[in-house]
Assembly symmetry: C4
Homo-oligomer: 375 residues x 4
């Protein structure tokens, strides 16, 4: 069955945000979908990210006044209408001819900040012209510092208001499912942002050296590179890919503006824990002040609620934006965000949380808390 | 396969109360059944309510004398033959042309108190004439206080002996399963009790305001409205929908006669905990004196026994009454209640509990209590 | 497919004791098998009994000398070649024309004590003539004390060396699976031991009284009856059906010779815990001295090992004896016992336990004990 | 479908080490595969060994410098390029005509030490000529001490550098799956190493003695035999089959060079715990100094990482070497080892462990550690 072209309306089958994932196979060719949906290796972490939400229930509370309620937050000094962001995802033109232009127009309609990926289908300058005012730029450290600086200056010039430095994916083993689907990146998917830069090359490793440890990892970021970068820009820099409290503390000490708890959507280390499972310990480690954005398997407003309750300040949407984009372009993206927001508001209303900072761990019920006092 | 008409006898396939659910698909059209069986969203809480019972076993005890045993209780001063009630369920004429008249006749035959729903197929006055002496009236706060008062006065005049105020469902997201089944409420299902009252209207929300928090929730009850209501009647008022000990304590302090631990049968917040899972903490919070009625997935006398052991004083039957009604009308309802009561008595006899107040948490065995002393 | 007649040889498919259960459907008609395999209600406790063994692993130990090892035990002063018994099971002629005569000959060949059921296909006197010297007699208290005494005197006269009083099954709700299979007890299955005795009759209950609590339970044994019985015989009396430490303690104080931890094979209270799950607490309650026989789902020598490790002194085999009987008569029963004993010996050898009393809880590994010291 | 002959190239379907197991059914006849893959009895321990890995996740760490990283270790004074070994597996000619010669050439290409099995298809002297310099010899104590000594002297003479004494399999009950597959050891699979030795014979047991405890176990090793053996060679002696900390301590006291935590791949006591589950307690018992090699279900570099984190110094590969051998001979074995090593290096790189001794329990996340501080 060939994939359908994106619709110019919302199909009636879409009743909740998750339905965009359910409908996606009608709009995305199977190999491409395998590439998008897959993670790394046996997709264990992809599955773990999703499974973690079911360990928590949300406790309904009664009679609380939410008439002055809203979802607005301030994240590292920035006012946001709601705690949702679009996370960085590569090559939106894989699923829609309009690519990122469609996505960011949908986001802007819902006042949703976006984090543009370095690996976008269009240049960061082009993307900026379509995007709303709240746009961040995700980047990897380039093999040459000059190229890193050029990318940074271009992002500053294009009005991006924060830098997200991805730290967690120096190695990306493909999903076996994706390999089995024989997905090939189409010719029109080119990282145009990096045109002219020195590409990352696998180092020729000395005899007896490791293709991984001395080869692939030669290009991996380290603390020195991070500290250097932090001296090169006045934009706030966020560190993406944090999965341990000690790393969060060290990043905080190094001066990042905030962290993004992420396992790269399960696309880096297959067998990494679910992000929701490590979130509470990370929040406990850093205390209340360090801003935390969270991603990993979010498909509903209830998922957003749980991540906020367990320590996140905001939540980034990954694959779901591509599914919505594939189904109905900018309209789909906007509608998906609206559904997520309303689903979150329903959870807030029924859990008696008028504001985002009322959403705490005490609002959740762990599914194994079956205590009873034996009398 | 078209749904069969209700029988005028008990079919031989009915060997336990749960069998009424098993047989229901033969007597209720699929879309209607989806509406009745479904909860909210992905029916997670519907499933959780049922799954919770399996976490507990009932420990058999030996040689105890139950010859003077009985199931009678006193609930908030009212003598009851057994700790079973029929909970409020809307529009019984969905499954039986006789509607609530059949149901309450079946209940009266087993001395089972009923909680009439505001959303009944007939008026509360008509229902009262068919019902036995033990009848409570469930209501929602109406948009206009005058209408609320009118409803209250009518219930008082019709001889209802208690008011059950439903607090937990200011928002009811439909079950996706129900939506997929394309169920439509038939034309003859009309909330006749509310004829002439100002209907609940979604407030027109100001620009930038939330359709949920400022719109739908504008009609939600709050503490002021509850306190007002408590001043307007001498009937005992029960609060339905309690899922947290702090809410139970606050309601107790406000002066309710008792609480009903309920998550609206999973029809309000999808992802709420199972009622059985939160019951022990609620009982622990309020101590021994506040009467607690419990509902949520009860399908057998063993389920009733477990709820009583974990803190409930009585148990309300929800969907199962409609299934019994659909299968065999008043006779089915009466038989279902008789089966539940006998199943409860069998548990009592084998667990050595002659009276309902002998049923304590110590009578249960948690399925994960596999301790052993290593010598 | 009609059920095959019992073989006069061991079929090659039998490689372990459990295989008798696997092969049984070829030798027992489906409705009869449903009756034998079924428990009560939804067979929850039948399943729980089996599932409990998988929670424990057996830790292999090295280099221990078992050259003087053996399985012999002394149970309440009686020397036994191994800790296996055949528990009381009704009407062996359901699966073999030779009935109990075949079974007990098979048991005698393996020096296995048997507990004859009151509900045997032949009289206890006939059974005694076929049985080996180690035979106990299981009985229920009869409605008339005179009949109870007569049964007791007959058992004494026929050389039974212990009395097993079944306490746990005053109510036996049929398995729904068995009801669905429409099993009927054949005409030749008659409790010949009880011929001439006043049958148990359901008391006519007074208006308003309970069919269960005042009806069925009127015939239930109580502490007075037990104490009376203990004064009427010099034979040791064992109490069967213990599931709680407090009952075990009270029985010990009343003077029983030992207890049988049993939930009647899941045929009494559906939803009772697994016997293996309650065994450790019962052993902890009574200390080391009270002899405990255990039953409930034993199908392998490893199951026997686990029950011994968790507190049992000996283990009674229930359904498996009927399966072996159906497959190959006395030969099958003997072979099944030989397999169980050798499977037990293999566990002993590999766990380094030369004698039965070396089998302790420390020989087991709980499948959830995944501790690690974080350094 | 007849099994294919081994390939002389790596098939493209092999993308990770585990894929050799996935592809094996194309290259190994079903009965032979059942024999290799099966364990003992119902294969419970085979399944447990595999399932244990999923209880642990690996926590990604950021920005650590692994540029000087490597997998080299020193094991009991021996320098190894990586912590992988090939464990002893019988009769490699079951799956490849070249037998062990192919296997050890593959291992040598990856500098992987091998543990030659006594039950090899060729003599230990022949095997030594094909093998690389790091070769250990696995043996069982023979019925005659003279034969044991002869085997030992031959291993010393052939340049084996360590002796692995298998202690855990005095009894090997066949897998029921293997029996059902009717596998027969082919005529060309003969333990040529033992030609001329007195074979192990089941002792004729005295009347009343046990075929297991006095028969099969008569040939089992005991502490005296172990202590004697330790006096007969200057080679380091490793004890294979340790599953309990007390046994590890006693072996350490007796003077073994190290231990191999193993349950014989689930081929000895069916129902034994997973090796990964008992490893932490064994390491805790013996402290840091005693070298531990680990086996049991290792199929990936992540599995290796987890075993190292929980206390192992090195990891032995069992069945997977036969699968790789069957698919592509020496080349397959070498490739499988290369994949395992790179998978391990990827875990090290992403977990921020530059060296093997950085891999500690703190690098893992237990899948049930879902703590949250309720505020």
């Amino acid at each position: 069955m060939p994939a359908s072209m994106p619709l110019n309306h919302i199909p009636p089958e879409i009743r909740c945000a998750l339905d965009y994932e359910t409908l996606a196979p009608q709009f995305i060719a199977a190999p491409t979908l395998a590439y998008i949906a897959g993670g790394s290796g046996h997709d264990q972490t992809v599955a773990a990210n999703r499974a973690a939400y079911a360990r928590w229930a949300i406790t309904p509370r009664l009679l609380r006044d939410v008439s002055a309620g809203h979802t607005a937050i301030t994240l590292a000094g920035i006012a946001m209408a709601h705690p949702l962001m679009l996370g960085p995802v590569a090559f939106h033109n894989l699923v829609h001819p309009g690519g990122e232009h469609e996505t960011v127009r949908g986001a802007a309609a819902l006042d949703c900040p976006i984090i543009a990926s370095t690996q976008s289908s269009c240049t960061l300058e082009q993307l900026a012209r379509s995007a709303g005012p709240q746009r961040w730029f995700q980047m990897y450290l380039q093999p040459q510092r000059a190229d890193t600086l050029d990318l940074l200056r271009r992002a500053e010039a294009a009005g991006y208001s924060a830098i997200v430095l991805t730290l967690d994916a120096p190695i990306q083993v493909a999903s076996l499912r994706t390999l089995a689907a024989q997905f090939q990146l189409p010719a029109h998917c080119v990282p145009v942002n990096l045109a002219g830069y020195t590409p990352a090359q696998e180092s020729a490793v000395a005899p007896g050296a490791s293709r991984i440890l001395q080869g692939v990892m030669a290009a991996a970021p380290n603390w020195d590179e991070l500290r250097w970068l932090l001296t090169q820009t006045r934009l706030p820099v966020w560190a993406k890919g944090v999965m341990h409290g000690d790393d969060a503390l060290a990043l905080q000490a190094a001066g990042v503006a905030g962290i993004i708890v992420s396992n790269h959507g399960g696309r880096s280390l297959d067998g990494a824990p679910a992000t929701l499972d490590v979130l509470p310990a990370i929040r406990a480690a850093v205390g209340k002040d360090l801003p935390i954005v969270f991603d990993g398997g979010v498909r509903s407003g209830a998922d957003v609620f749980k991540a906020l309750a367990l320590g996140a300040n905001a939540v980034a949407i990954g694959r779901l934006q591509l599914y919505a984009l594939a189904v109905a372009g900018a309209l789909g993206v906007a509608h998906m965000l609206k559904l997520l927001r309303e689903e979150l508001e329903i959870c807030m209303a029924l859990a008696g949380c008028a504001h985002i900072d009322h959403i705490r761990a005490t609002a959740l019920f762990h599914q194994r808390e079956h205590h009873v006092n034996h009398d």
